[in-house]
């Protein structure tokens, strides 16, 4: 289980092997970056947040409670850091175009996919942060109800309720954009 290996790396690091933390960085760099990116839609902010999250995790490793999953702990930090930025800047965190690696899909397919992606990310931007957070954790880092609850500090019932409302709101946004 990945959770067991995470816990093992944390213990190793706390035992003096700092290099064990590098594996955790390698393992979670991408999901943490994606959490921040989907919350803020700004690659520069996402990069800063990813750096801050890992630095804080490293500095506060002794306060990490191993009854929770390590990734829930750092996703929670990534969400909180994102919420802080949203609070400070209001809703004026401007989305910045992302660079996507080219794939081998044809031009028509690519265009349709770009349109879908733009519609989804635009609709996500319109959600309140608490709804955006459940969608980000569910869809972009594949967390289940329990994991989302741990990351957001809410119970599974609240996760389900928020997820349903968030999906309804997204559905309305996507319908308004002609994407459904």
């Amino acid at each position: 289980m990945i959770e067991d290996d995470d816990a093992h790396r944390v213990r190793e690091c706390l035992g003096g092997n700092r290099h064990a933390f590098a594996t955790l960085v390698e393992r979670y760099e991408k999901p943490v970056y994606n959490v921040a990116l989907r919350m803020l839609r700004n690659p520069e902010d996402a990069r800063d947040i990813a750096q801050t999250v890992f630095l804080k995790a490293y500095q506060n490793l002794s306060s990490y409670d191993p009854q929770y999953k390590f990734y829930s702990w750092i996703y929670r930090m990534a969400i909180n850091e994102s919420l802080n930025i949203l609070r400070v800047r209001g809703r004026n965190v401007g989305p910045v175009d992302e660079q996507y690696p080219a794939d081998d899909t044809g031009p028509v397919e690519s265009l349709a996919e770009d349109e879908d992606r733009t519609a989804v990310l635009g609709a996500l931007d319109r959600l309140k942060p608490e709804y955006r957070a459940v969608i980000v954790l569910r869809y972009f880092v594949d967390q289940n109800y329990e994991d989302i609850g741990q990351a957001l500090g809410i119970d599974a019932k609240t996760v389900k309720s928020r997820l349903f409302t968030a999906r309804q709101l997204l559905k309305e946004q996507l319908a308004a954009r002609g994407a459904l």
């Binding site: 760099e29 994606n34 794939d103």
Partner: protein
């Protein structure tokens, strides 16, 4: 009809958390209520659109910057721990299996009849019937035959994602477990109402006696690990990677 209950069932369906008994209840409700049907369809399309957004790659300089900020160099990463994957072992296994297939060395079939016996076979060659099963494989395709089980899997490109076509026949119940790296792709859903359980990076398909053909959709391009299991025993395992020609 209780709309809240219908919504709960739709949500559980979207999240792959709907038990078989409740699946029948949802099907009944959708049949009787056009409004519920419309909601179900729209939420599934929303779900598919969300699943269609691929994970973004972090900038190349991010990891070295993080490691430098905590006083480690980028060479501190444990060898073999996987390129940014939450499933390093899977990545490593995929690389090994990919290498074996390319080199034409073969595959390992776990013996269904003799616990703990590994059988080595050449690529595409038949395993002796006494081994308990026959397997054939190439990078994007695998098939397995044993007493009571006949399973075939093909992985193809599908737009920006992949589709896994499964033909599951046989006379005994068994399950096929598909595992993938959730950091590189995601399971979107399957056609029909097959008994499918979804976990974090795992999809389990229950095959009952008779025939079952299912297509599973994934976003991203990630190796798919497949296992055929019966009575809690792994009968065969194979890693599939999407073929260049599909």
């Amino acid at each position: 009809m209780d709309a809240t209950r219908t919504q709960e069932l739709i949500q559980a369906d979207l999240d792959g958390e709907l038990p078989a008994a409740e699946r029948a209840e949802l099907a009944r409700r959708l049949l009787q209520d056009p409004e519920a049907r419309r909601l179900h369809d729209e939420l599934w399309r929303t779900h598919a659109l969300l699943r269609g957004v691929s994970p973004a790659q972090p900038p190349a300089g991010l990891r070295p910057a993080i490691l430098a900020s905590i006083g480690l160099s980028s060479r501190s990463t444990t060898p073999g721990s996987g390129g940014g994957s939450r499933w390093p072992a899977l990545r490593l296994a995929a690389a090994i299996v990919g290498g074996l297939v390319v080199a034409g060395i073969g595959y390992t079939l776990l013996d269904a009849g003799q616990p703990g016996t590994d059988l080595q076979g050449s690529l595409g060659a038949a395993i002796p019937a006494t081994a308990g099963g026959q397997a054939a494989t190439r990078a994007d395709q695998a098939s397995f035959q044993a007493a009571g089980i006949e399973a075939r899997a093909t992985l193809r490109r599908s737009g920006a994602g992949m589709r896994l076509d499964l033909e599951l026949g046989g006379t005994i119940p068994y399950e096929v477990v598909a595992t993938f790296d959730p950091g590189s792709g995601a399971y979107v859903g399957a056609d029909g109402d097959a008994a499918i359980t979804r976990g974090n990076g795992t999809v389990v398909i229950q095959a009952q006696p008779g025939g079952l053909v299912r297509t599973l959709e994934f976003t991203g391009h990630t190796p798919i690990g497949l296992q055929v299991r019966s009575r809690d025993r792994v009968l065969a395992s194979q890693e599939l990677t999407v073929g260049a020609t599909h």
